[in-house]
Symmetry: C2
Subunit: 213 residues, 2 copies
């Protein structure tokens, strides 16, 4: 059991919180909207605590369960507080108006931008962006454990994330250096586009990408 901090109190924060509590980690939820944060902490139950922006970051692993722009702001704001910690970027910086492009600079990724804004000693890892909240909270799809694709430049950080992923009943897959986040995010441009497409009535944010067998 170790301490996990989650920035955010929305669907993805809830989903990752549920998984981490199931894995018997203690979970600190940090969100700006105090009421929403308290509601999530209550729902998560024993092992969960909450706080606002002034709170001391307790987790050795910090999940950024917030949109891309917010993620870069959070790591900027917390500065050296995140040094030595594993910082997990989960964002999909897709243009949500068109599902036809990214909000990141060409030749980069949300995760790399987060790393640029973070303390140089923060261990930034990309993970969980290919998991939709509902399937992540359920922890499985079609009776099989979700795949969690992990990219990062620190082997130690990826091993820590892989350990909590496995402990929460999911399958960690190390896909290489942090720049592989470009492909992880590009994938989701396509797969998120399918969820909103009127041509695909069967895809409703309840799918998951699996490597089979």
């Amino acid at each position: 059991m170790s301490q996990i901090t989650i920035f955010g109190n929305g669907h993805m924060a809830r989903a990752i919180g549920v998984r981490m509590i199931r894995a018997r980690h203690s979970v600190q939820i940090l969100g700006r909207d105090g009421e929403k944060t308290r509601g999530l902490v209550e729902d998560l139950g024993a092992g969960a605590s909450g706080g606002g922006e002034e709170a001391v970051v307790e987790g050795g692993i910090v999940f950024l369960a917030v949109p891309y722009e917010e993620a870069t702001k959070v790591v900027t704001l917390y500065g050296e507080t995140l040094a030595g910690r594993v910082v997990v970027d989960m964002c999909n910086p897709i243009d949500l108006g068109t599902f036809d492009g990214m909000r990141t600079p060409a030749g980069s990724s949300g995760a790399e931008q987060v790393a640029l804004h973070a303390s140089k000693d923060a261990l930034v890892v990309k993970a969980f962006n290919t998991c939709f909240a509902a399937t992540l909270e359920a922890g499985q799809v079609a009776g099989q454990p979700l795949d969690v694709f992990i990219a990062g430049d620190s082997q130690e950080a990826k091993m820590k994330v892989s350990a909590v992923v496995a402990a929460s009943g999911l399958r960690p897959i190390d896909v290489g250096p942090l720049r592989r986040a470009r492909e992880l995010e590009a994938m989701m441009l396509m797969f998120m586009g399918l969820q909103v497409s009127p041509h695909h009535e069967n895809f409703n944010w309840d799918t998951a990408v699996k490597l089979l067998p």
Copy 2:
């Protein structure tokens, strides 16, 4: 039953040929190496025929089961012969030396480059690049039909490809316009990288990407 032409006589040509013959299409294999082409035609059995570069293209659907650079050459060479036909680009223009970049110009894709080199009346579609030859030949993974992701600017062409995909026992998924090939190819930079990685002993070109459930 309709006529399919396949350029190439390697693993992917064999896999797509097996699927098309199973779907009761007749298959024309066009390859430069006559002996290899004849061998594949023999293996495919009834319904298959072969030819060299001088052969008349018989298929209304033409699969480019050749590497990226070869695909652009083939569509250039055949010029207006391909006008009005559905041309299926299957390539993964990955840098195979590093698995860390693409061989295509930035902001493009193999499929879009093929379209640039082809007759403006050829109906270029991206499909099958996410299927490895062995799983494609088997037609299933873990007891489930393979997903075939299809991108293209012609709805009519995508419907024709979807029909032959479904007839061959696989699940067609229309992912949008031809430029979605960028994401389909980017995905494979990552997923092909896993197959060759010494850290992933379990991934040996026998996996498949599925959207579950």
